[in-house]
Amino acid sequence: MEQLISLIFIAVLATFAGAELIGKIPPQLHTPLMSGSNAISGITIVGALLAVGASGNDKLLAILGFCAIIFGTINVVGGYLVTDRMLKMFKKKGSK
């Protein structure tokens, strides 16, 4: 129970932080912001790694974790790259 409460505590604080972060965002950054925060949700790859690490000799666990690693990596790598591609275009304008 103690563990649960302290985790909820963290979750509540992070929720408020996330809400506060989105204030006045210029519309042209909405798409990159969505895409960039989407990459962060790929953090679940951490869970996928742990699942594979704990799989021992169990093939089913290993395969589930393996698929999760692939999915999570696609989310992370693709998400960050695609966001950077969008933002690179703005950069060019700013420096000109």
Partner: protein, 474 residues
């Protein structure tokens, strides 16, 4: 490695994520923000490698390698116009990963209950909490997975962009939801009840499909943003399953910021989130006869040459880009047109509606890609008063965002949505492929207005025709 060290790494990751999101919100720092957040992710992944009981190289390296190749290739290859779909797909995979991790945790318990329970007690946790959070992760994760793919299909045109509805839809969804609550109860009291678990998984996958198909294609950006928030929540609940702080913090950050971003997008369309999700917006009512079904409306056409001459002799031209420009990949031609007109001494501005295209900021990204300078782009609020003094409003593949019915026709589905006041300009030209209604499925009364002329054809071809004509004149 020392577990404190791993926790400290997670704290650093969390800080980098927060700074990253913060910086993503400003034009000058956005790219750096994305980079910081990526570093945070790398730190979290490396720290986790030290936390693992064992590192089965073939699974870990193989998975990361495969994921990197697929992710990187799609991210590099995707056309700027298909960006929203791409984000949807990436997001779907994130949600799917969370559901998989939670399921793996269930099988871990079933394989060695005593060891698992001992571990839970050691961590001051209990089985009921773990099972409840597994249910949440699986439902939200699988819903995000299928929902994202439906959103992708709708934007790609693989699934009808029209809202798909059937009688009793909301009641059926409600019954399904009730069913999943019952299945969840049976599963949590007895985690060995695999039947209940598969029902939960199946319903999660089904809910993703059922909740997205009744939503019109034009609203997909909002849906993707909401699904992005869901995948954050799925990651956070997976964090509860594993008792992992990195997942909880990052997931909650994305979940909360995603909801707020979704809200901002809805505001741009002057609609509420519930309205977007449940009203089957833009569904063409078969009992009503639109202008396209028989009733005569007169529209005037003008040749590309004449349009070019008109713009050439104008003092000010406001260009309104829309999804049609994106589809035709006409942004580079549009820049040439702006250059030519400016050489002729015409004042050229761009008016960007907050929801033009398929995603907020979609047009800005495309125009930036074509090297059109920032200071020529204006948001709706900044430019709406300028239309009354403009000689020409050139509408390139935009439709619903310039439909005057939104101002006065209470029966129109888009009534109340803020629009660009293009009809106040002296003359309007609409570049359009055909007379089909816009993505929202609504016909546009602007086309029949006195001072409006249509130019039919592919936007790119038409605009380059303008450029040719202007060059010949010069």
């Amino acid at each position: 490695m020392n577990s404190n060290f791993i926790l400290i790494s997670y704290i650093i990751s969390a800080i980098l994520f927060i700074l990253g999101i913060k910086r993503l919100g400003k034009v000058n720092t956005a790219r750096q923000g994305n980079f910081l957040s990526a570093i945070g992710m790398l730190i979290a992944i490396i720290a986790t490698l030290f936390k693992m009981d064992a590192i089965p190289l073939e699974w870990v390296l193989g998975g990361i390698l495969l994921g990197t190749i697929i992710g990187a290739l799609s991210a590099i290859r995707v056309a700027m116009t298909a960006m929203p779909e791409m984000v949807a797909i990436f997001n779907g995979f994130g949600g799917g990963a969370s559901a998989l991790v939670a399921s793996a945790e269930l099988f871990k318990y079933l394989n060695g209950k005593e060891i698992y329970l001992a571990e839970l007690t050691k961590n001051n946790s209990d089985l009921t909490t773990t099972m409840i959070t597994i249910v949440l992760s699986v439902i939200i994760g699988s819903l995000t997975f299928t929902g994202s793919f439906i959103a992708w299909g709708k934007l790609q045109g693989k699934i009808s962009g029209q809202p798909i509805t059937y009688p009793g839809q909301n009641i059926i969804n409600l019954l399904i939801l009730l069913g999943v609550v019952i299945a969840a109860y049976f599963f949590v009291v007895n985690p060995e009840n695999m039947m209940a678990f598969y029902v939960i998984l199946g319903v999660g996958l089904l809910l993703g499909v059922l909740s997205v198909i009744p939503i019109g294609g034009a609203d997909m950006p909002v849906v993707i943003s909401l699904l992005n928030s869901y995948s954050g929540i799925a990651a956070a609940s997976t964090g509860f399953v594993l008792g992992n702080q990195a997942l909880i913090v990052s997931g909650a950050l994305v979940g909360a910021s995603g909801i707020f971003l979704t809200n901002i997008m809805c505001k741009g369309m002057n609609r509420s989130l519930t309205n977007v999700l449940f009203s089957a917006f833009g569904k063409v009512d078969a009992t009503k006869t639109g202008p396209q079904s028989g009733e005569k409306i007169t529209i005037k056409e003008m040749s590309a040459d004449n349009v070019a001459y008109t713009m050439q002799s104008a003092e000010s031209v406001i260009i309104v880009p829309g999804y049609g420009m994106a589809v035709a990949q006409a942004q580079h031609e549009v820049r040439k047109l702006a250059d030519e007109l400016e050489r002729e001494g015409v004042d050229v501005k761009f008016a960007v509606h907050p929801v033009a295209g398929r995603m907020p900021g979609h047009m800005n990204v495309l125009l930036a890609e074509a090297n059109i300078s920032y200071d020529k782009l204006f948001d709706m609020d900044e430019i709406n008063d300028d239309f009354s003094t403009a000689d020409v409003a050139l509408i390139i593949g935009a439709n619903d965002v310039v439909n005057p019915a939104a101002r006065h026709d209470e029966s129109s589905p888009i009534y109340g949505m803020p629009i660009l006041n293009v009809d106040y300009a002296k003359t309007t030209f609409v570049l359009k492929r055909s007379m089909n209604p816009g993505f929202a499925g609504i016909s546009n009364e602007l086309f029949a207005y006195e001072n409006n002329y249509m130019v039919f054809g592919d936007a790119k071809a038409t605009v380059s025709q303008f450029v040719e004509t202007l060059k010949e004149e010069a």
